[in-house]
């Protein structure tokens, strides 16, 4: 299986200038790789830095040092040092991300929220909306919600819009931040099925799952983030 992402010796510290410059070490020495067609899971207790790692891979958090090499358009690009323009291009074509919470935009319908990643890649609105409707139907999102802005949806409904948005493209790498946290058992099963399909298509997935059943059903291997805990690395 092809390696599509390699993180090596990635380090992250928050410096809180509002509190007199106190340093908050998050992770250090983060090193792992992701392979096409498999699903890795970030493990470890809350607050150990799992979400921060996903956010660094997506370019949403900066890194202090280390490299995050991604196979992008047939070459290797370091997300940690890439220009904003390159990071945007990587997000458009190579790395997809299902965030924990949906950031709702006023007046934009659920259908448009889910279809957007296809639209920015130049897919026609008709096809993008069709794909979004198929995913909504599969995720049991009530049809009467599809044309409404998701701001007033329940947590589980918003999460399903977010999942549809993340799964709608064929990005080679997909990051999942607790995508099943607010879902009932039936919809968790749908997400497990969607992940299995992505794996079969050759996508490399990296996720955070607190739900044991989901984790056991999807994980090919577990990356123990406590090993990268900043305190440990300093010792």
């Amino acid at each position: 299986m092809t390696t599509v992402l390699v993180a090596s010796e990635v380090k992250k510290t928050f410096i809180m200038h509002m509190r007199g410059g106190v340093e908050l070490p998050v992770v250090a020495n983060v090193s792992f790789s992701l392979k096409a067609g498999s699903c890795a899971v970030l493990g470890g207790p809350s607050g150990v830095g799992k979400s921060s790692i996903l956010k660094m891979l997506y370019g949403n958090y900066g890194t202090d040092s280390g490299q995050i090499l991604v196979q992008h358009h047939g070459r290797h690009v370091d997300v940690a040092s890439a220009s904003p323009r390159t990071v945007l291009e990587i997000r458009r074509d190579t790395i997809g991300y299902v965030s924990q919470f949906l950031r709702a935009v006023p007046r934009v319908s659920a259908l448009d929220v889910a279809a957007e990643p296809l639209l920015i890649r130049g897919v026609s609105q008709a096809i993008a909306h069709q794909r979004a409707r198929e995913l909504f139907a599969e995720l049991n999102l009530p049809e009467k919600l599809w044309s409404l802005p998701p701001a007033t949806f329940s947590g589980g409904e918003q999460q399903r819009v977010n999942i549809a948005r993340g799964f709608i493209t064929d990005h080679p790498i997909l990051l999942l931040d607790e995508p099943t946290a607010s879902l009932d058992a039936a919809n968790r099963a749908v997400v497990i099925e969607l992940i299995a399909r992505k794996k079969a298509e050759g996508t490399a997935l990296l996720g955070i799952f607190h739900d044991h059943d989901v984790r056991n059903a999807v994980a090919d291997h577990v990356i123990d983030v406590s090993a990268f805990a900043a305190g440990k690395a300093a010792a």
Partner: protein, 274 residues
Amino acid sequence: MSHSDTLEALAAAGIAAPVKPLLSVEGLTRVYGKRIGCADVSFDLWPGEVLAIVGESGSGKTTLLNCISSRLTPTCGTVHYRMRDGATADIYKMAEAERRYLMRTDWGFVHQNPIDGLRMTVSAGANVGERLMAVGNRHYGNIRNTAIEWLSRVEIDEDRVDDQPRTFSGGMRQRLQIARNLVTEPRLVFMDEPTGGLDVSVQARLLDLLRGLVSDLGLAVIVVTHDLAVARLLSDRMIVMKEGRVIEAGLTDRVLDDPRAPYTQLLVSSILQV
């Protein structure tokens, strides 16, 4: 192999053709006597990219915007713009007439207060049509039809085309100003606090409209705002200014979610949660 063949081969290999920036700002500085308006600002803007300039009042955002858009002469520094013919020109070395033509056609400028960007005593249709006449359109029927089409794109009813903007609400005036700017299909639009002074529901509608127009038309935009939520919604990249200098720059969500500079952390932590 011809140039176009090479580009096709690159495209086939999944490599984007090398594109030059639309706008290159280098070392731009404006001083007012001993006070600094903006100092040593440099960045590139690419076609279709939206850049937000944020910072509190007096941080030099508007001075910078005016220096880039040739409304205020900088003390030193350069602004290069890639013209429609592909040639790059230093906008402060252009003839005045050429620069004015550029501003009327390939650039737009949306003011915070629509009164500064509209003619309040001529009709809405004439406000839009005027920019078309500036680029050489003379056929009254065509100009009127294009004006009506643009009014509908900015959600203004056709039956208001003959009304003067002084009879419009604040939100409608701002939408009219946007139509007036976009009718000549500019490639670069400057916006100074475009949603300032509007109440939140009107602001949401305007932001939604702007987002749609920017992506449909592939506009490059430089938007000055003190509202970080507006910056997050509209922009790809942002620069944070304080006392005339850039203190942090990067991808918009990176700057807002992982702010590094003490001042950016202060700004982000000062946002009120609803």
